[in-house]
Amino acid sequence: MDPDLVLLLNGIVSGLLLGGLYAAAAAGLSVSFGMLDVVNIAHPAFMVLGALLVALLWAATGIDPLILSILLTPAFWALGAAIYVAYHHFFERRGDEAIQGLAFFFGVMFIIEVGLVMAVGPEQHFADASYANTTWRLGEIDLPLRMLVPALVALAAIGGLVFFLRRTFTGRAIAAVAQDREALRLLAIDPVRIKRLAFGISIAMAALAGGALVVVQPVDAWSGHVFIGRVFAIVIMGGLSSLGGCVLAALAFGVVENVTATFYGPSWSPAVAFGCLLLVLAIRPQGFFGRTA
């Protein structure tokens, strides 16, 4: 085969795998930002918190990092619920969400990151899964399990979340809170309770994404920064509250970044990806894959 074509195919495939990781990182935000309208800019910081906890626990126990991250989800759910209670009490209830709410999460992000630096140091941490050095080959295309397994676990988790939102009463209430708060009141459902539950879920998803992240790459306290723009880009391109759109956008984003990195060098890939987002925002703020507002 033409070596350039092989390069391109490999670039696309590993871009899709990278996209799986991005989908994990963005899915939680799609719930909080897309459905609940809570601009949680600290979402990637929660993911990094999860990643570093997984790394510490892995070093202590040797259990598989992804299993560890699943074990962490209840604690993160509780953390998320607690943060939502504070956010609701101080901002939503007052109707001050705009600037103050943004600044609140900006501050939370800083507290998490600096707290991590103070607790575990500024250096990189990693967790090696048992399959980390195995690579499957399909013809000329490489499928490193280090990327494939986290991507599949992430997609499975998102699938489970979609099922929960569509098929259960509580899940449908979460989807409804995005559209019509009054309707919930008529059904005698407390929207604050529903949003607290949903925000907890979004932070639990961040823990899972953290587990996936630390399998893919070493993580330090500031690793979340490069994800802030990415995850918001993905959620917006995906049409905010649509998890399916979010996954598609994440895969597209991964491919664009990875192909750019393959052909022009990794230092250009963020600019290309964020250039795309700027264009999306300028031309079609409601996203490419979602329904129109």
């Binding site: 943004l102 900006f106 507290i111 723009g229 918001f232 964020f274 925002l281």
Partner: protein
């Protein structure tokens, strides 16, 4: 500079107690007193610490023109700040010019960047605007990292001139005096805007853009004026940075510390008035300067984060708001 875009005839409500001219005069006197006082100290550390604090006064005041007056949250303050710093590096290298002309160039670059951001984000509001500015910051950082002329990812050294201008005892003293003047001018400019027709229009569009349009306010144009002025001032804040440390590299110049401080300082002080960013910047920057010396650099960021969260929760209108309520 950007002054030309200001409407000529202010219809100030509150200038009853002090006109624009007297305020600029007061700012000039205050600047002179600060310069003389620092000269009295005369220590290099005092100059450095004062310059550090004052660059934040300019940055926070600049951020507040868009964020506080017009209600558009800019997460990309670091990008504008770094654009100023790198203008100094590039112009200094290309034309061999000193600090003062570089500051003027930085204002032009920052203003152009602000105008560009404004045009690109005209239709965006709230969180979308904030996220777009964050993206802009990443794009700009990538460009600088890949731009070898200004040092790329390795950074660039800037050598301070050997001879000290005018009557100053050291280059740090000169740099500090320049920063004092910039800070005084920034605060006076912010107050002029706040109490003018422009400020009234920005306040109207912050509260309700459709209603502002219906009242005859050209919201898009005012937004562009605000992004341009704010961008120019943020770049001016960053222009002296290369001389302050004699070394700039992208990760520190684009550091989120600048972005978070630019937001935290006005919010802590109070966004509705020119005094808010001034108070917030002086308090928070001094606190960080003290923390860097006595504790660690991680701890001083922790302080910013905690103070920011506590303030937005407990005092949504900042220190000024607390003061007004208790009166």
């Amino acid at each position: 500079m950007s002054d030309a875009t200001l409407p000529a005839m202010p219809v100030s409500p509150a200038s009853r107690w002090m006109g624009h001219g007297s305020f600029w005069l007061a700012a000039a006197v205050a600047a002179l007193l600060v310069i003389l006082a620092l000269r009295g100290f005369g220590s290099e550390y005092a100059y450095f610490a004062a310059t550090f604090v004052l660059q934040y006064v300019v940055l926070a005041t600049a951020w507040n023109i868009l964020g506080g007056y017009a209600g558009y949250v800019n997460f990309g303050a670091a990008a504008f700040f770094a654009a100023g710093a790198y203008t100094t590096v590039a112009i200094g290298k290309a034309l061999g010019l000193g600090l003062l002309p570089c500051i003027a160039f930085a204002a032009l670059v920052g203003g152009a960047l602000g105008l560009g951001t404004g045009i690109l984000t005209l239709r965006l509001r709230g969180a979308y605007f904030a996220i777009a500015t964050l993206c802009l910051s990443v794009v700009l950082q990538t460009i600088v990292v890949n731009w070898d002329y200004v040092g790329g990812s390795r950074g660039a050294y800037v050598i301070r001139p050997r001879e000290v201008p005018w009557l100053f005892d050291s280059y740090s003293g000169f740099l500090c005096a320049v920063m004092v003047v910039l800070a005084a001018a920034a605060v006076a400019l912010a107050r002029t805007i706040e109490k003018s027709r422009l400020g009234l229009g920005l306040a109207a569009l912050r509260d309700d853009e459709a209603a502002a349009e219906a009242a005859g306010v050209p919201t898009l144009r005012l937004k562009l004026v605000a992004t341009t002025i704010s961008g120019a001032m943020m770049a001016v804040a960053g222009a002296p940075l290369p001389y302050l440390g004699s070394y700039v590299e992208p990760n520190s110049a684009f550091g989120l510390a600048y972005a978070v401080n630019a937001i935290a300082m006005p919010l802590i002080g109070g966004t509705a008035s020119w005094a808010g960013p001034l108070i917030g910047a002086v308090l928070l920057a001094s606190l960080q300067q003290a923390a860097t010396v006595t504790i660690s650099s991680a701890a001083n960021l922790m302080i910013v984060g905690v103070v920011l969260v506590v303030f937005v929760c407990a005092a949504p209108h900042g220190i000024i708001g607390l003061f007004r309520r208790s009166r």
